[in-house]
Structure formats: C-alpha cells, structure tokens
C-alpha cells in the first residue's frame, strides 16, 4: 500500500513534468509565429516537393531569392495531398504561409475559401504565362497566382514491343487505329496499354484526355461523347487490351507495369521522363489521340505559386519580390528542369527544347492542354471529378454499363 501510493506520487510528478515541458514547447512554438506576425523576420514558404531536401537546388534557390529580397526563408515541404487541408487549417488560425506552392486544381478551392490574394492585390506579373495554363488559377475573372511549371499526360510507347507486333506507330492517329494496334499487340502475346483508373483525383486526371478527346464537356458527363470515352476504356478491359489492375493503379504503379517492358503503351506524365530514360528500353512519346483523329486536350498538371492572405498587408511587397525571383526566366528554367516539368512561358519552353529535344512533344501537349478548373468551373470541378472517377470505377469493374454509370454521375454532380 505504502509503495503503491509512493509510486502514484512519482507518476503524478512525472506527468506534471511532462505537461510542463509540453507547455513550454507549445509556447515557444507560438513565439515564432508571433515574430512572424510582427512583420519582417522570416518569410514562410510551403511547397509540395518533399523529395527536395535542404541541400537541393530548389531549397538553395529559395534561400537565394530570400537573401536578394533581404529576408530569411523558412521552408516547409508537405505531401501534396496534405497541403490543402494544412493550408485551410493554417488560414483558420490566421497563420497561413507567405508563399504557397500548390497543385493547380486546388487554387480555385483555396480562392473560394478566401485564403488567396488576387494578382490585383499582390501585383504579380502574369503577362508572359501561356493563357491556357494560367486559366487553371483563374475564377470569377480574377487570377490567384502564377504557374511554376506544367505537366500533362501523353502516351509512352515501347518501340520493341510495337515492332514485334508489327505496329507502325505512325498509324496510330485516332481511337480506332489505337485499338487495332492494341489488338495486334495482344495477339503477338504482349500486353496492350496501362493507365490509372483509381478512385481518386488521379483517376479523373487520367480519364480526362479521353473524355475531352471524345468532345464531351465536364458540365454534361452523360453525353453520348462521354459515354463513348468510357466505353472505349471498358472495352479495352473486357478484351484484355488493358489489365484489370488499372482499376486500382496509381500513376506510379501503372508506370511500374510499363517499366516491366511487357506493355506497348502507357498513359503517363511528363514527370516520368527521367524514369523512362532509366527503364532500359527504347521508348517514344505520342500525344493522346482524339476520338476522330488529331490530338486530345489533356488536363494540365503542375503547381501554382500563390500568396495567401496575411494579417499584415505590408508583407505582400516582399512576398511578391520572392515570387518574381522564383519565376524569373533563368530560375524557371532551372526549377522546371529539376522537376521534369514544362515551363509556363514560351521563352523558357524554347530554352528547354533547345537543351533537350525529347521535350518537344511535351511542350506541344502542354500547349494543347486544358485546366481542370478552367471555363469557370472552379469549385464545381471537385464534385464533378468525384462523380466521374466513381463512374469510371463502376463501368470498369462491371457494376454498371458506361451509360448508366455516367447518367448516375451526372445527376449526383448537380
């Protein structure tokens, strides 16, 4: 009894010490935010590039731009799927970063939340940026940032597999010729095409080139064109031209399938270029064909540099200097090369192609690409997209016909 009460006392003391320590830790944490609020001091930058550590060129570039503007930079890298909610929470606490680099379809959501400043307020110059890329960051006639770089989707193909199957890649011009190429590949004993149809935004991103390539519009999911796009995918699965695993594939796992060397085609993004060089086989890149020929619009990927609303408007001047430095021609070139992205301005695009001719089809694809939230869809897009990936999953897994799945999606997206 005696011992147990002593033990309890020790435990109580230990616990109160822990609370005290935790308390100090918390208060020192809020101390740093106080200095931030007082103007001057460190400027915070959040980005979705956790792959870049302190020694990377990206981190050094941030510091360099900071010292040019005469301020210290405090950078935090988040996982891209985490960043939206982290930003919303920070804004709720009036503690948003000075500069936020965020995935482009999120911009309209954050703008709707009142978290971002417009280019009218922050005086960012976006005149050089390709208008189709800038559109992803515009809603209600206002612009909420500037793209740091863009990527999009195209078809990678394995030259050896196509040759063995007797397919001339130049013959692939529309959906019909692509499907017959897949048929030849399959009868030659190889696998046709892999993509990602997972039940997340990634799945919608990958379906969009086919959806748009059919001539369908996001405001009308259940049009005959939209149905034809989903029927194309469903038939590929039924006939075994695409593996059943696409239903669960992320773009990374889909790429791994292609990298195994068995597949003729893979729908994947600009960011895989560096991996493609390492894959150990000869590959080519083809824009995604539209239903009746020509190139389909693919969705634009890539991030926007934005300036979240601050309690102290005096901070915008310095933040604007930071962003201008980050998006200057020279720095854009370096950053986009490191990210394996296509630059958002014609000037830098030319430099990129001059340095690496393999980027040419990607620059063309980016020029033809469309923002997911463009055409003033804004925050309507996330709802539509969710229903779209659900419809794709239902149709591919055989729960519903493409027609029924899309009809259901359309009524749910309203």
């Amino acid at each position: 009894m005696h011992r147990s009460s002593r033990r309890r006392l020790v435990a109580a003391i230990a616990l109160s010490t822990v609370t005290a320590v935790a308390g100090t830790a918390c208060s020192s944490g809020s101390g740093t935010t106080d200095t931030k609020g007082a103007g001057g001091g460190a400027y915070t930058i959040w980005d979705p590039y956790p792959q870049f550590d302190k020694t990377s060129a990206w981190a050094k570039l941030l510091d360099e731009c900071g010292s040019k503007a005469g301020v210290k930079i405090k950078r935090t890298a988040f996982d891209t799927s985490d960043l939206t909610n982290k930003t919303l929470l920070a804004a709720q606490q009036d503690n948003a970063p000075d500069v936020l680099i965020v995935d482009n379809p999120v911009v309209s959501t954050l703008a709707e939340a009142g978290v971002l400043t417009t280019t009218d307020d922050n005086k960012l110059d976006t005149s050089e940026v390709d208008p189709n890329l800038l559109a992803a960051g515009q809603s209600g006639g206002k612009t909420y940032g500037t793209p740091i770089g863009a990527n999009t989707l195209a078809l990678y193909y394995n030259k050896a597999v196509l040759k063995a199957a007797g397919v001339d890649v130049a013959s692939v011009k529309d959906w019909q010729s692509l499907t017959s190429a897949l048929e030849k590949v399959k009868s030659a004993g190889k696998k046709g095409i892999t993509f990602s149809a997972i039940g997340t935004e990634e799945g919608s991103f990958q379906f969009l080139p086919w959806f748009w390539g059919s001539g369908a519009k996001l405001t009308e999911l259940d049009s005959a064109q939209g149905e034809s796009a989903l029927a194309l995918w469903t038939d590929w699965l039924k006939k075994g031209y695409a593996p059943n695993s696409v239903i669960n594939n992320t773009q990374t796992t889909s790429w791994q399938e292609f990298a195994s060397g068995d597949y003729a085609f893979a729908e994947n993004g600009t960011w895989q270029l560096a991996n493609a060089d390492k894959a150990g086989f000869d590959y080519g890149v083809l824009p995604i064909p539209a239903s009746a020929g020509g190139n389909a619009s693919a969705p634009t990927g890539g991030e926007f540099v934005t300036l979240p609303v601050q309690g102290d408007p005096g901070r915008y001047t310095t933040s604007q200097k930071l962003v201008t430095c980050l998006t200057s021609t020279e720095n854009l070139n370096a950053t986009d090369t490191a990210l394996s992205y296509v630059a958002p301005t014609a000037d830098v695009q030319n430099k990129q192609v001059a340095a690496k001719a393999g980027l040419k089809p990607w620059v063309d694809a980016v020029k033809a690409a469309k923002g997911r939230t463009s055409e003033d869809l804004g925050t309507k897009y996330p709802k539509i997209s969710e229903q779209m990936w659900k419809a794709v999953q239902s149709a591919l897994s055989g729960v519903e016909s493409p027609k029924d799945a899309l009809a259901k999606a359309q009524s749910a997206a309203q």
Binding site: T19, G199, T200, I247, Q393, S397
Partner: protein, 332 residues
C-alpha cells in the same frame, strides 16, 4: 517466459480497478475534510493539484477534439466558412444528408459485415492458436513469437504487401491459383471480391492480438482443474468446452470488445488496398468519413464529421454493453 505472462494477466484486473479507483478518488475528498478538520483547504488544494495534470490532459486531448467534432457535424461548413469561422448552425442537417446518401446503406452493411466476420475469425483462430501453444511443446515460444509479426509490422507495409499479393495480373495469389487450375480472381478490382479481400487481410492482422490476450488468459486457469477433468474421464474436446471456454469468458469479453472497437475504425488497410472501391464495394463508415473530409479536392467537413460521430457512438454503445455485462458478472 511463463512468469511475466502470469504477472501480466494478474495485473489486468488490477489495472481496471485502479482506473475505477480514479473515479472513486474524485468522490473520495468529501469524507476526507470531515476526518482531518484542521487543514481541510490545503488537502483539497493538494488533491486538485494532483488531479490537474490528468484533467488538463483529458480536456485538451479528448474532450476538446470530441467537442469540435460534434460542433463540426452540427454546422454547415464550406471551405470559406471553415476558414472564417462563421458557419451557420444547422442542427442535424448533416446527419440527414448522411442518412439520405445512397452510400449510407451499403456502407452500413459493409461495416457490419466487415466487423462481425473479422471479429469472429480473429477470435476463433486466435483462440485455436492460443490453446495449441498452451501445450508448450518444443519451439512453441519461437513459433508464438513468429505469429506476432503481423502485429509488429507497420500497417502501411502489411497493407501494401497484401495488395501486391492480391494484384489481379501479377499477384502471387493468382499465380498460385493458376498452377492448381483456378482462373484469376480480381481480388481488389471486382466488386464481388474487394470486401472479402480486405476482410482476409484484416483477419491476418488481428489474429496476433487475440492470440496474445487469450494465451495469457489461459495461463491463469489453474492446471488442477484440467487434472480433475481428466480424472473424471473428460476428453480434450470436453475439457475445452467445459473448463477452458467458460473460465476464459471474462478475458474473451474484453478481447472481443477491444477487437470490436479496433475493427469498427479500421481505415488504413481498406484505404491502402482498395480506397473503398471499386464502386464503393468495400466502403465502410471509416473510409467514407475520410473520403468526405479529405478524399476530395473540396472537403465536406460537416458530413465527414457526422459519419465519424456515428462511429464513435457505435463504439460507445458497445462499451456500455460491456460495462453492464461486467457489472452483472461481478454481482453474481
């Protein structure tokens, strides 16, 4: 190996009574001033001071988040009002939205099926293994340790491994099935199989927990009972049903309750393996709640919190049932 286990089991009931004592301690002060009339105030202060860290901890880490979650579920939040904090109070509107959602019925069904099937098999397999290892043959300790591996692995590792093994085209399970002449099964990508697949993975992960708790429960059954039963001519089967099983009842109850709470809220395995799909065929309340709150570019905080609260209420209800049963047992 044996002794620490013995202590472990014996401490379980102790630990419980200690936590019940925590409740009693709050009630204890009133008689105390009556006895020590000289310095009632200072004793009271000391009591509060000792209580303060725990109370503070409970309030900051349990009460407040819970309150916030209830508050979230009772207001109409858009991203804008989430940031500016002026979401209008809408009462039970979010709950209505959730109940009317076409996802609700299937999600409820999946949650019930997932929980009961997992719980049944985890318990049955765990108990069978516990009885098996209780015989203490050679290498039993080593084997038992090996059975703990699923428990020790990070969930992301085990779930990813399962999803590789169950891959339709390149998974090992389908290639084994192929060698015995069974056609490929789309484990994760067919709506008929996805729920089964996540259940299998979750059973595998849950067995070690049941094994450990039930094994330590077995240790506390006196050997003399088995000897007496054997002398009376009871066979192994009879001994299990007439001695082991009834005497294990209190331990079984807590195992099943804890298992229930763990299984109700299973999220990671399902999310990593199937994302609740395809076509919602493996969506449970836990994944649905996450899907609403975080799985979309435009988060729906209100309905997400409402689904989460339904889960909390379900777990709480079963907790109360357990307490009631336990009190009845203690009285009888």
């Amino acid at each position: 190996m044996r002794d620490p286990q013995m202590n472990h089991t014996k401490q379980r009931p102790d630990g419980r009574s200690a936590s019940a004592g925590g409740g009693a301690a709050t009630a204890a002060p009133p008689p105390a001033p009556a006895r020590a009339r000289r310095r009632p105030a200072s004793r009271q202060w000391a009591a509060w001071a000792f209580l303060a860290p725990v109370t503070l901890y409970l309030v900051v880490f349990y009460a407040y988040p819970l309150y916030r979650n209830v508050d979230l579920s009772l207001r109409h939040y858009t991203v804008r009002s989430f940031v500016q904090g002026n979401a209008p109070f809408t009462g039970l509107k979010n709950y209505e939205t959730v109940f009317d959602d076409p996802t609700f019925g299937p999600a409820l069904m999946h949650t019930v099926v997932f929980t009961t099937v997992c719980l049944f098999f985890q318990y049955a397999i765990g108990l069978a293994l516990a009885v098996f290892f209780h015989q203490n043959f050679r290498l039993s300790a080593t084997l038992r340790a090996l059975f703990l591996v699923p428990w020790l692995l990070p969930l992301i590792v085990s779930a990813s491994t399962w999803s590789w093994m169950l891959n339709s085209d390149s998974g090992i399970v389908n290639s084994v099935l192929h060698t015995v002449g069974i056609g490929p099964v789309n484990w994760l990508t067919s709506p008929d199989w996805s729920l089964t697949s996540v259940i299998i993975a979750n059973i595998w992960i849950g067995v070690p927990f049941n094994l450990v708790v039930l094994y330590s429960g077995l240790q506390s059954i006196p050997g003399s009972l088995y000897e007496a039963a054997a002398l009376d001519g009871a066979g192994a089967w009879r001994r299990f049903w007439s001695v082991t099983f009834p005497l294990l009842r209190p331990v079984s109850a807590i195992t099943l309750l804890l298992g229930l709470v763990y299984t109700l809220k299973v999220f990671d395995i399902i999310w990593i393996m199937t994302k609740g799909g395809p076509a919602g065929s493996s969506t449970t309340f836990a994944t649905w709640s996450y899907q609403l709150g975080f799985g979309n570019l435009l988060p729906a905080f209100g309905p997400g919190a409402a689904v989460g609260n339904l889960l909390v209420v379900a777990a709480l209800a079963f907790g109360l049932v357990y307490l009631r049963v336990q009190r009845k047992q203690a009285l009888s």
